[in-house]
């Protein structure tokens, strides 16, 4: 029995359906799990995505390239392969791609999380024969605090900054994390202001029917926006840019799953850090993998080798899926921040408390 999906030069390919999933080269037909830069690359002839994410994908790809969409659960036959999407809970419109061919089901997870997120549909694990899972945070040290407790931390930080007359600048990825954070915080504390790249996605989210609190953009040639009071949400690339000076004295924080590790926090060198991720933590990965009841698991992106080894020890047939895309994406992501990338790989970590 031939595999339903295989890895080719251009990415994960379905021979039966003649389409690629999240290809990293220009291909005739691309099925997209979600609009992050490392998954949705421009230049393909035709795109297929889950319906809730269509406007977001359009805002990322621009132009008039054909984008087809399917509602979650709706199935489409492409050259004899049946394709459908299930929510992945990662960002608006993020999907797991289910491909069925001759009774065998492969599911590509894309990026996913199990934590609640009011800006997108919650993940629905899909029964699969073969499950291709991400493992960005595939080490047992990664376990997220609840959204409520992180929200409380961010609110307390914002209030304390206001009391001290400092603007609160929260660094987060433009697509997904930024909008989710806006819904997490207590908007009654003060104005929420966002960087242009965040505002672009905010509009796409609103147009897609997602309810967000009032968020102001920064007008051109503005001076002193919300100084001392506002929460400013911006991509990490604004650090050390002149743009930040608009807000006067500011406390800068970053929100990322990597912030779990002290050494990585130190490398990123902001005074505050919050552990918030749009990826599954370690228990989340294990729970979703188990829920698929897959007999075979292919692990990609992140700590794939350790996760595969652990799954094997637990009696699941597991392998690392060798994708050039994962590493290539990580390399280019720091440039892609501004365009709204994903969580990049962490820097190599610092050792021990400083002397």
């Amino acid at each position: 029995m031939a595999d339903v999906l295989e890895v080719t030069e251009a990415g994960l390919y379905c021979p039966a359906g003649q389409f690629w999933i999240d290809p990293w080269r220009r291909v005739p037909r691309a099925v997209i799990t979600h609009a992050h830069a490392d998954h949705a690359r421009p230049g393909c002839d035709r795109y297929l995505c889950a319906a809730p994410g269509k406007l977001v994908l359009r805002s990322r790809l621009g132009g008039t390239v054909p984008i087809d969409s399917l509602r979650y659960g709706e199935s489409l036959a492409i050259n004899g392969a049946h394709v459908s999407f299930a929510p992945a809970g990662h960002i608006l419109g993020s999907a797991q791609v289910r491909v069925e061919h001759r009774g065998t089901v492969w599911v590509v997870s894309g990026d996913y999380k199990t934590a609640a997120d009011p800006t997108c549909d919650p993940i629905e694990p899909v029964r699969a024969d073969v499950f291709i899972t991400e493992s960005t945070f595939g080490l047992p040290i990664y376990r997220w605090p609840t959204s409520e407790s992180v929200a409380a931390e961010i609110n307390a930080w914002w209030r304390a900054n206001q009391a001290a007359g400092r603007t609160s600048v929260l660094l987060a990825y433009s697509l997904g994390k930024a909008q989710r954070l806006a819904t997490m915080v207590d908007a009654s504390i003060g104005p929420i202001v966002a960087h242009g790249s965040v505002m672009k996605i905010v509009r796409a989210y609103r147009d897609s029917g997602v309810r967000l609190p009032p968020i102001d953009g920064v007008p051109p040639r503005a001076r002193r926006v919300g100084q001392g009071r506002a929460l400013v949400i911006a991509p990490p690339s604004v650090v050390a840019s002149a743009w930040l000076r608009l807000f006067g004295e500011a406390s800068i924080a970053q929100a990322s799953g990597w912030m779990t590790v002290r050494g990585i926090r130190r490398k990123r060198a902001t005074s505050q850090a919050f552990v918030v991720s749009d990826h599954a933590d370690f228990p989340g990965l294990l729970a979703v993998i188990e829920a698929t009841q897959a007999r075979r698991v292919l692990v990609t992106h992140g700590s794939s080798a350790s996760l595969a080894r652990l799954l094997c020890q637990r009696g699941v047939e597991a392998d690392v899926l060798p994708t050039r895309g994962a590493t290539a994406a990580a390399e280019t992501l720091s440039d892609a921040d501004h365009a709204g990338g994903d969580e990049p790989d962490p820097p190599t970590t610092a050792i021990d408390f400083p002397p």
Binding site: I141, T260, S271, L310, F353
Partner: protein, 575 residues
């Protein structure tokens, strides 16, 4: 643990001094009084004890996490810090409130000292239980700090002045005053902390006054000779200390270590002094009717408890040379002459005898031993500079470390002024020794030769007598480094044995008999005087030559001198 954990994280992330200060202010604004002394000790960098090994923690945490050991290694490689890795893999802590039976997370003192006490008396399985029960109460970040504290590897230290400045803001007093309070006081209890933070200006000192430190007199001897008004005293070899009488007698060393319980005979001798009196002087080790040279100082100072055997073997006395405070009157601004008068009359009133100004080879005048253990340092007759020189020349034979010269008009000066004391140490002893090994360098710079070992000849082989590297220029070090690298013969721990080719003249303060050293002698404060480039190894000194230099009094002693010579920077033994 939560407030201290937050503080640790903020200090860790602090980029500038004002961030550090703000974190400290926030912490001490709300810290419970019982946790504050513990926190202060940690932040001052006081030596931490290790109550558990990280290997034990790793084993138990791996088991509790229910993951294989290789996965812990992978996490460790990713995180870079084992204490933190273990904190992150452990099962999530129980949250108080959700369950009535879960006690609230313990405070810093309870979590650290309380646990350390319990661990000390527990055996293997019980130790594990104690640690596990604590893990259940702590959040991951709290666990990281707790692990490091328990393993003695917590490394966040705040400069004293910054700490004082933050505490001063919280207490509402000024910075220098807080610094003085911090330096002066014992901080062992919540009450001590409340005292520390008490408002008002009248600081009640508990600890010593800052110590006046003599400056080495070497190249400026000529200038000193021109100044007529000197008070000349022996430079006593012992432990510099202040006797502080404030509702009890306390002995404080110059390193601000409270050592009263280690010198009960001295404490007893000072018990009759009026309250609020502070004497400056030196603790001296005695042997029969002799003062021992500093060379043979017994290890009392490092013993936590006083062993009876040690006590009978090595009694101690305090020789006072200055009076800083008497009956609550601060004399430090007074000229030395006035302080000396007050000291002499105080000693006379309380029967503390004056030592013989010209002792023979460390011998004390008979009447003073051993009834009293608090003596008055005598002034030496030095009508002119040649007399001073004669005294200096005789110092080694009298088992004293040299002379101290003090301007009679000077205040008790702890900062750099022109009224400083001068210490004129005895001339160093010297011997030509052969470089026989080097320690492979570690850490920054990775120099090979972080330390050299030297030997002298005995029965046709080289016997190791000392190690040192101070005294060479950087160019010389680089040159020696090359020779050492080229002549390595064997490895022994960190040491690299080399072919003996290099001869150095070692200068040192003294030699004593030692049962701990292969050579049977120990050399005090060795440093490299000069590289003897044209001397062959065969022409270097012998052990017999070294033995001939053993200090008077030090040969008959069975005391164990410190294993390694004291770091000259620390000036542990010298004043």
């Amino acid at each position: 643990m939560k407030p201290f954990t937050e503080l640790s994280w903020r200090l860790d992330a602090a980029a500038e001094a004002h961030d550090t200060r703000a974190a400290l202010v926030d912490y001490f604004r709300s810290v419970p009084a019982e946790d504050a002394p513990t926190a202060l000790k940690i932040l001052c960098g006081r030596k931490q004890s290790r109550s558990i090994s990280v290997a034990d923690l790793r084993e138990w945490a791996t088991e509790a996490a229910g993951i294989p050991s290789w996965l812990v290694d992978e996490c460790h490689a990713h995180v870079g810090d084992l204490a933190e890795t273990l904190a992150l893999i452990l099962p999530v802590a129980e949250t108080p409130g959700s369950n009535q039976e879960i006690p609230p997370a313990p405070g810093l003192t309870a979590a650290l000292l309380g646990t350390a006490d319990r661990l000390q008396t527990a055996d293997g399985a019980a130790r594990k239980k104690i640690v596990e029960s604590m893990w259940r109460l702590l959040q991951p970040q709290e666990r990281v700090v707790w692990h490091k504290l328990l393993c003695g590897t917590f490394r966040i230290v705040v400069p004293q002045t910054l700490l004082a400045s933050a505490l001063a803001e919280v207490a509402g007093i000024d910075g220098p005053q807080m610094l003085e309070r911090l330096e002066a006081r014992a901080l062992d209890s919540a009450a001590d902390y409340c005292d520390l933070m008490a408002p008002g200006t009248a600081a009640v000192r508990r600890g010593p006054h800052p110590f006046a430190a003599p400056v080495a007199l070497d190249s400026s001897i000529g200038a000193a000779a021109d100044r007529p008004d000197w008070q000349v005293e022996w430079k006593w070899e012992g432990i510099r200390a202040q006797v502080v009488c404030r509702g009890g007698v306390a002995l404080w060393t110059r390193e601000e270590e409270l050592v009263s319980d280690r010198f009960p005979e001295v404490v007893a001798a000072a018990a009759g002094l009026p309250d609020s009196t502070v004497l400056d002087g030196v603790l001296l080790a005695l042997r029969g009717s002799q003062i021992t040279g500093g060379m043979a100082l017994p290890p009392r100072r490092t013993r936590q408890t006083l062993l009876p055997r040690l006590r009978s073997e090595s009694p101690w006395a305090f020789v006072a040379f200055d009076l800083l405070e008497v009956g609550g009157t601060d004399l430090r601004a007074e000229p030395l002459a006035a302080r000396r008068d007050a000291l002499e009359s105080l000693c006379e009133d309380h029967g503390h005898p004056l030592l013989d100004p010209l002792p023979a080879a460390g011998l004390l005048p008979c009447p003073v031993t051993p009834a009293s253990r608090l003596w008055l340092s005598p002034l030496l007759p030095a009508p002119d500079w040649s007399a001073v020189e004669a005294l200096h020349a005789s110092a080694r034979d009298r088992a004293v470390g040299g002379l101290v010269l003090k301007p009679r008009c000077g205040a008790y000066a702890t900062t750099v002024t022109d009224q400083l004391w001068w210490a004129w140490a005895v001339d160093p002893l010297e011997i030509d020794a052969v470089l026989i090994a080097a320690v492979a360098g570690s850490g920054r710079g990775k120099r090979l030769n972080s330390e050299y070992a030297f030997g002298v000849w005995h029965n046709a082989r080289l016997v190791r007598i000392a190690s040192a590297r101070v005294g060479l220029t950087d160019e010389e070090l680089a040159e020696i480094d090359g020779i050492v690298r080229a002549t390595i013969q064997e490895k022994k721990g960190p040491w690299r044995g080399v072919t003996p080719t290099l001869v150095m003249r070692l200068a040192f303060r003294g030699v004593a008999v030692s049962t701990r050293h292969e050579s049977g002698v120990v050399v005090r404060s060795p440093r490299i005087a000069i590289w003897r480039k044209n001397v062959l190894p065969a022409e270097a000194g012998t052990l017999d030559q070294l033995r001939a230099l053993i200090e008077p009094g030090a040969d008959s002693l069975s005391f164990q001198a410190p294993l390694s010579p004291p770091d000259p920077q620390k000036r542990l033994w010298d004043d």
